[in-house]
Amino acid sequence: MTTPVTTAPAGSAAGRSGSPGSAPRLRTPRHRHTPGRPRRSVLLTVLTGLVLLYSLVPLVWLVIATTKSQEGLARSFGLWFDSDFALWNNIGETFTYDDGVFVRWLLNTVLYVVVGAGGATLLAVLGGYALAKFDFPGRRAVFAVIIGAVAVPGTALAVPTFLMFSKMHLTDTPWAVVIPSLISPFGLYLMWVFATEAVPAELLEAARIDGAGELRTFFQVALPLLAPGIVTVLLFTTVATWNNYFLPLIMLKDPDWYPLTLGLKSWNAQAETVGGEAVFHLVVTGSLITILPLIAAFLLLQKYWRSGLAAGSVKE
């Protein structure tokens, strides 16, 4: 969960402090600092640089490690390349090892993300909009419940959920992962706050006066305005579901339903098994392949993500 989340803000922060000025002009005393040309702080630059380094080094290690074979990993220095370059070989082997079970895990993860995170986003948008724009008795109670739910980490709920699901005969099925993923109190809260700010009540009234039904008002008037928020929530839930480890760990026993996180762990555990085959090179290659889609999602969606985060920060 941590790597991509920390990388993106750190990267963008550093980018922001470095990009606007075309040349370093630290010693121009009469120059006025405008919002577009902020004053440079050496301390801040160094600090963000350190944070950037801190978040990038593991990634660099991972990328370098994926180019090594199992023996290469043992005989070479961690942050530099080994003499034989085994990246393509590793990637091929990752996808074919154990009858291509990695592909199955990848598809499982995609399934959990599409259904689980997609569903969670949908529910959060609907709920957040309703809570923001409709006044009904019990709204404060709902608010209290959501705030409470945000405070409870999902990990703490995993075991009770397991016992409950086990009574419902749902453990060891994809439902056991998908259903809990559908609930995202934080997403709901975010959508609520976002909808309050981003959708002016006047606009909704205008739509209603023009004769639009509630559904049409929602889909054609409110939804486009909510887009940045939706992307933000979608990113949150996608990351949470893609990286989910503890819930599937408890719920699933059948490797055919493992997501990537559990699958990689089971590969790693092979080295701890008597008679098991140590496949560290596949574990690192698999890990890199696992985080690539998340990195791509962040790079593609980061402008929405940023505007989503900043929404509501300025009173218009």
């Binding site: 086990s166 008597v274 098991g276 560290f280």
Partner: protein, 446 residues
């Protein structure tokens, strides 16, 4: 008595890491043992078929399961790996707590058997005629499946008679002789570390399984178990011999603090900085895959002895296939366990690189003549088989050894990272083990 011990163990908590306080970890009530089953009953079950859920992490079982399905087309085997040892025990305990999803067959290590036996979670296989198989196995594993009880609670699958694996290239380079006693082992450790400060005789950060195996070989019998009475004592001469030797290694920093099974460990085994391993005979497959770079460098020697010219060995690791009581389809499950542990499955597993527990395989010419490419063509099985025959069978673990092992690092582990003496660490371990036993309702002999 049975009722009492069941109540006693209610709440043996460690493996219930995840269980809520609401459901105790004890065995289920009810559940009748089958009365004696004949061969015909088992044949009938095979004929009728069905699906069998097997929880095991042993990799060679995959082939065994496939062969079994081929031989009995009506049977389908669902082989699941819920995680290696500790993870599996947690998963098993969760399933038992929820009384749902309990496998028909489960792999359990010998050291952990006692706990399941005392809480009556395993089916006694005596009624299936398992007693007749006593002579088919070497003494260590057979003692293991009794789990300190009267019955036979599983069939041995693999065993780990100990041997000394050593990196011959490293020994040759520095002109060091392969140690035959533990005193020589300390000498070799000194010579090696002096010749190459980066090289260590072995790795050890304090591991309960290793320490108990060493005590076992040294003739120490720290655990006394008689029904619900337990005693722990690490002050016999055997334990003293062990602490004297190992304390020297720790004092002079001659063992490297690397955890076994970590990637660092494999790296050390491959590059020669970890020069020996005293461990179970199941090790070759792991060396070959985890430290492939050192192929041809390693050899096997008999385990160093505590007295010159001695020939005593001990078991390290090894596991059995058991039938959890809450599992279904007992006759079919037994048929599979017998096939994998005593029948054709054994040969399949040996071919896959596993180390057997059966005398027939250990004594066979084919097995003894097998040349290991990884060990430069050495016929290492001869050493392993001899070690298996030299294992003293009177060793007992605690009925709650899983818990005891889990607090090993808080107690004995201190000797590895501070000035605490190994003997003091063992004393603290003893106290912690006895205290826990008392809390669980055992009668404790101090």
């Amino acid at each position: 008595m049975e009722k009492r011990s069941r109540r006693l163990l209610r709440g043996i908590g460690l493996v219930c890491a995840l269980a809520l306080a609401a459901t105790a970890c004890g065995g289920s009530d009810g559940g009748t043992n089958p009365t004696s089953l004949s061969r015909a009953d088992i044949e009938a079950a095979l004929e009728k078929g069905g699906t069998l859920t097997v929880w095991a992490w042993e990799p060679t079982l995959e082939q065994v399961a496939a062969d079994f399905e081929k031989a009995h087309p009506a049977v389908e085997i669902d082989l699941v790996n819920p995680g290696v040892n500790g993870d599996q025990y947690t998963a098993l305990q969760n399933a038992v707590s929820a009384e749902r999803g309990v496998p028909d067959v489960a792999q359990i290590e010998y050291f952990a058997m006692g706990q399941y036996v005392l809480t009556e979670e395993l089916t006694d296989l005596t009624d299936y005629g398992a007693g007749e198989l006593a002579d088919a196995y070497t003494p260590g594993p057979w003692n293991g499946v009794k789990g300190g009880g009267e019955g036979i609670y599983g069939l041995p699958m693999d065993s780990g008679p100990m041997a000394l694996f050593y990196n011959k290239r490293v020994f040759d380079r520095h002109g060091i002789d392969v140690p035959t006693t533990w005193d020589e082992y300390v000498e070799a450790a000194r010579a090696l570390h002096e010749a190459d400060p980066k090289a260590y005789i072995t790795n050890d950060i304090g591991e309960a399984g290793f320490t108990t195996s060493m005590l076992w070989q040294a003739g120490s019998r720290p655990y006394r178990v008689d029904g619900t009475t337990v005693g722990v004592d690490f002050s016999d001469p055997g334990a003293e011999a062990y602490t004297t030797v190992w304390q020297q290694l720790l004092d002079e920093k001659l063992v490297t603090p690397i955890a076994s099974w970590s990637d660092e460990w494999y790296k050390g085994l491959a590059d020669g900085t970890i020069a020996t391993l005293a461990t179970g005979a199941w090790m070759p497959a792991n060396l070959a895959s985890g430290a492939a770079g050192a192929a041809g460098d390693w050899r096997v020697a008999p385990l160093p002895q505590w007295t010159e010219g001695g020939a005593t060995s001990a078991e390290n690791g090894g596991s059995a296939l058991t039938l959890p009581r809450l599992g279904a389809n007992e006759a079919l499950a037994y048929a599979f366990v017998e096939y994998a542990g005593a029948g054709e499955g054994v040969q399949t597993r040996v071919a896959g690189g596993a180390f057997p527990a059966t005398v027939a395989q250990l004594d066979s010419k084919e097995f003894q003549d097998t040349k290991f490419d990884y060990f430069g063509g050495q016929q290492a099985n001869r050493i392993f088989a001899e070690s298996a025959a030299n294992v003293a069978a009177d060793w007992t673990y605690l009925p709650y050894q899983i818990y005891a092992n889990s607090v090993f690092n808080d107690t004995v582990g201190k000797a590895y990272v501070s000035d605490t003496r190994l003997t003091d660490g063992l004393k603290t371990w003893r106290d912690a083990s006895l205290r826990y036993g008392e809390e669980q309702g055992f009668t404790v002999e101090r």
